[in-house]
Symmetry: C2
Subunit: 290 residues, 2 copies
């Protein structure tokens, strides 16, 4: 599995670098975009897109610009999240966050530039224009006020408050979930997959998104700086409600296992052994140490 992930990650990193090398001026934006995206991320979202295209029998060259676009949107959201006015994180994956490295005004504009450039990349997909339009419609919906940004806003509003489970679930399904559903649904659009397969894949992505977020909450308590690349315990410091703060650690780990198992079962029932990478990915998310 590590080998498989590494191969895809290297491919995605190569294309990201190519796309960003086109950009030269103003230097601080071009360099800041590169710094923010090429920071050793797991590339989970692009890999999920390429893996799903594979499963649906589409050549991998298709979907690469789209997968890079999603990674740019993910990166922009991290750049803006880390800002002093939001999470005020000085570190990201063990390196300075973008505003610590380039300045605050610069980080705001670098994030804006990544988001804008993502939509430019999608237009470069070598598929029918009507499909490109569908990709952009979905991306702008899932990344916007009804998606990722909505989740981020409610997360901020909830700091220092006791929140109920539906609110915590809204945050998770929107802040993290939508941007994990996006790659599998984009793969379905590119492949022309039917509604039934799309629904299964969407639910799978939702489940691994939840698992990912629950695991994040656990790592924030049990991880080390070296593993998670930022100070441990920052959720508690911000008085964030998390799965462990609501359910306790033992129950939280049970819930994590349930989500991973449900995701795997769903995929196996719909695709059989063909979905082995999707099943392994679900395990990987549940077991990851960073």
């Amino acid at each position: 599995m590590k080998e498989y992930l590494k191969e895809r990650r290297d491919l995605v990193d190569l294309v990201i670098e190519e796309c960003l090398n086109e950009l030269k001026y103003p230097k601080v934006i071009a360099e800041g975009m590169k710094y923010s995206v090429l920071n050793g991320g797991k590339r989970l979202r692009p890999i999920l897109l390429l893996m799903t295209l594979d499963l649906l029998g589409v050549q991998e060259k298709k979907g690469v610009p789209m997968s890079v676009a999603i990674e740019m949107i993910h990166s922009y959201s991290l750049v803006h999240d880390d800002l002093p006015a939001l999470d005020n994180d000085d570190y990201r994956r063990g390196k300075f966050s973008t505003h610590k490295k380039f300045g605050e005004a610069e980080a705001i504009l670098i994030g804006d530039a990544l988001l804008t450039h993502a939509f430019n990349l999608i237009t470069r997909e070598d598929i029918e224009p009507s499909k490109i339009v569908e990709l952009i419609k979905l991306t702008s919906s899932y990344a916007g006020v009804n998606g990722m940004i909505g989740g981020q806003m409610v997360d901020i509003e909830s700091e220092g408050k006791e929140i109920d489970l539906p609110t915590l679930q809204y945050i998770h399904t929107h802040k993290t979930g939508k941007l994990l559903m996006l790659p599998v649904e984009c793969a379905c659009i590119i492949a022309g997959a039917g509604d039934e397969r799309r629904e299964v894949l969407k639910r799978y992505a939702e489940l691994i998104g939840l698992a990912f977020q629950i695991k994040d909450d656990i790592l924030d308590i049990e991880g080390t700086f070296e593993e998670i690349g930022k100070p441990v315990g920052s959720d508690r410091e911000l008085l964030k409600s998390t799965y462990p703060s609501i359910f306790g650690m033992e129950k939280t780990k049970e819930i994590l296992d349930e989500k991973v198992e449900e995701a795997k079962r769903l995929m196996f029932d719909a695709f059989g052994e063909e979905a082995k990478w999707h099943m392994k990915l679900a395990d990987y998310i549940g077991n990851r140490r960073k």
Copy 2:
């Protein structure tokens, strides 16, 4: 002219409100988006798009989502520009700027949401998908690192420095110019206009963009708070290089007149009397008091 502008502005405001009323949750983002866009702006960019479609013989219902999208991008750029880390402006058109009204974290996310939603709106245009893809390609280019964001970055870098004319021109053509070229070129894409007409309209937009920016510099010195809706003299306070600081006021006004006249002549030569609204708009930009 005032009548003509008002009619279009009312149409655009109506559609903006419709589009934003769809959005409900999280409330602060939905309300902040509305507050930031529905703030009595001149709607110059949407009007320019609709006016150009008119000139090219296309029914006005086409282009409305696109024109609202451009206005949202314009608005997001103002929301982010006003932030403490950037221009630190507490007022915008005589009202509190978005971060003063809703908070800084909120304003960052409201800006992000406006930019993201703009791309969603473009996908709603009732035209061939291939044209929608072209619109998005152009929009993401002109609003991005090679366009508006680039101009904004160089503007910030230049604060407190003496800059040369090419740098000032880069700032103007990118920070303001690209987002005025965008509506006329989008109209050309929608109308399927030929390269020659597109070049004339593009140059016209570039010229009125320059005129607009020069006039802004003049108003920052000669205007009143009531007229320009923010404190007078903020450029000087930020030690910004401007046309008046480089050329002096008298010469600056001459240059403004030249740009306006050249823009009008270009349009008259290419379209004759048909372009009367475009010519009037150039005059309006040169003479405006706010």
